[in-house]
């Protein structure tokens, strides 16, 4: 296997970038679905900013992932089927209500910020550059989602109830965040990305203290769902991709 800059193989670099890029692309799509449906116009702006930040990250990561075999961001986004997507299951879950959307956001963005921090200090310069920019954005996403989780958790009886339901709904997908693929483990050995075990503790700490602050309880049942990183998705992703890809695929040789 050809060695990359930091001794990271081309295949491992591609797998790592693809996983992170698909995370951003799929979550960006979900957030963009909120357009014209947000609970207040100010939040319309905020959700669009989250979606735009993540779309920007997705484009950088997919461009990097496609470099090795000469595929550009659009070929990767529009010409892979769901079994070839590497995103976390958590991110393809439907938006549900605003409670589900903000809960998903805080679970993921907290993870992403920690991951980017490690990666920004890592040995693979292009991954590090993307992470250094992304970490500022992730920080903001975390702040925004935390403010909302607190307010909804302690707001009204109804908002509290909805937050409880959201947490129960999404909690099963959280263990997958910390399950490394083989590529990830090798990249971590090379110092290009942080070992996922190293960010699990700080993540758990951050989420637990937020939930305590917000008067919410983390479910007692185990978080066992996984498979997204290996291309084993929920039914939701197929529909998401059908919508996202249909126009592009209807005009195979067109440029836009």
């Amino acid at each position: 296997m050809t060695a990359g800059v930091a001794g990271l193989s081309v295949v491992d670099l591609r797998e790592v970038a693809l996983g992170l890029g698909d995370d951003c692309l799929v979550l960006s799509h979900r957030l963009a679905e909120w357009t014209t449906h947000a609970p207040e116009l100010e939040e319309e702006m905020a959700l669009a900013n989250l979606a735009l930040d993540l779309l920007g990250q997705a484009r950088s990561l997919l461009t990097l992932a496609g470099e090795a075999d000469g595929r550009d961001e659009d070929q990767l986004a529009y010409w892979r089927d769901d079994r070839d997507f590497r995103n976390l299951l958590l991110l393809e879950q439907p938006n549900g209500d605003f409670a589900v959307t903000m809960t998903r956001q805080v679970l993921f963005s907290t993870f992403q910020e920690l991951l980017y921090r490690g990666m920004a200090a890592g040995t693979e310069p292009r991954l590090a550059a993307i992470a250094a920019k992304g970490v500022m954005e992730a920080r903001y996403h975390v702040e925004h989602a935390r403010l909302w989780v607190q307010r909804l958790g302690r707001g009204t009886e109804e908002s509290h109830r909805r937050m409880g339901q959201a947490l129960d709904l999404l909690w099963p997908y959280t263990q997958e965040l910390f399950k490394p693929t083989e590529s990830w483990s090798r990249a971590a050995d090379q110092g290009a990305v942080p070992p996922l075990s190293s960010i699990e503790e700080p993540w758990r700490h951050s989420i637990e203290s937020l939930m305590v602050d917000s008067g919410l309880e983390i479910p007692g049942f185990p978080a066992w769902q996984s498979g997204g990183r290996l291309g084993r998705h929920s039914e939701h992703l197929g529909h998401l991709l059908a919508e996202m890809q249909h126009l592009h695929r209807s005009h195979p040789n067109a440029s836009w």
């Binding site: 207040e40 116009l41 100010e42 939040e43 702006m45 905020a46 900013n49 903001y140 702040e143 925004h144 403010l147 307010r151």
Partner: protein, 95 residues
């Protein structure tokens, strides 16, 4: 139904770059100061304008009288006590 339930209004002030003072750029609605700051960032700095944001509850802004006191403009009604007609006195009294 919803109009009495609007979130409070906030005035947004932006420092364009270091060395400049904060300038009023507009307003927005938010339930509290923290979200007001975030909303201000989303609304007024998404093209990279500004390095520092202030938000002030609109009800906390106290305004002076309008500069123009030409015939067109009435005296502001919020300081009616400055005007003699504000005070009721018996009609037959000379004050």
């Amino acid at each position: 139904m919803s109009h009495s339930e609007d979130w409070p209004l906030w005035e947004v002030f932006l420092r364009g770059r270091r060395g400049l003072s904060h300038q009023h750029v507009g307003s927005l609605h938010a339930p509290d100061p923290e979200l007001a700051l975030q909303n201000a960032r989303d609304l007024y700095t998404r093209r990279g304008e500004g390095v520092s944001i202030w938000v002030v509850r609109s009800t906390e802004v106290h305004a002076s009288d309008p500069d123009d006191q030409g015939p067109l403009f009435d005296p502001p009604s919020d300081k009616a006590y400055r005007h003699p007609t504000f005070y009721k006195v018996p009609e037959d009294l000379q004050l």
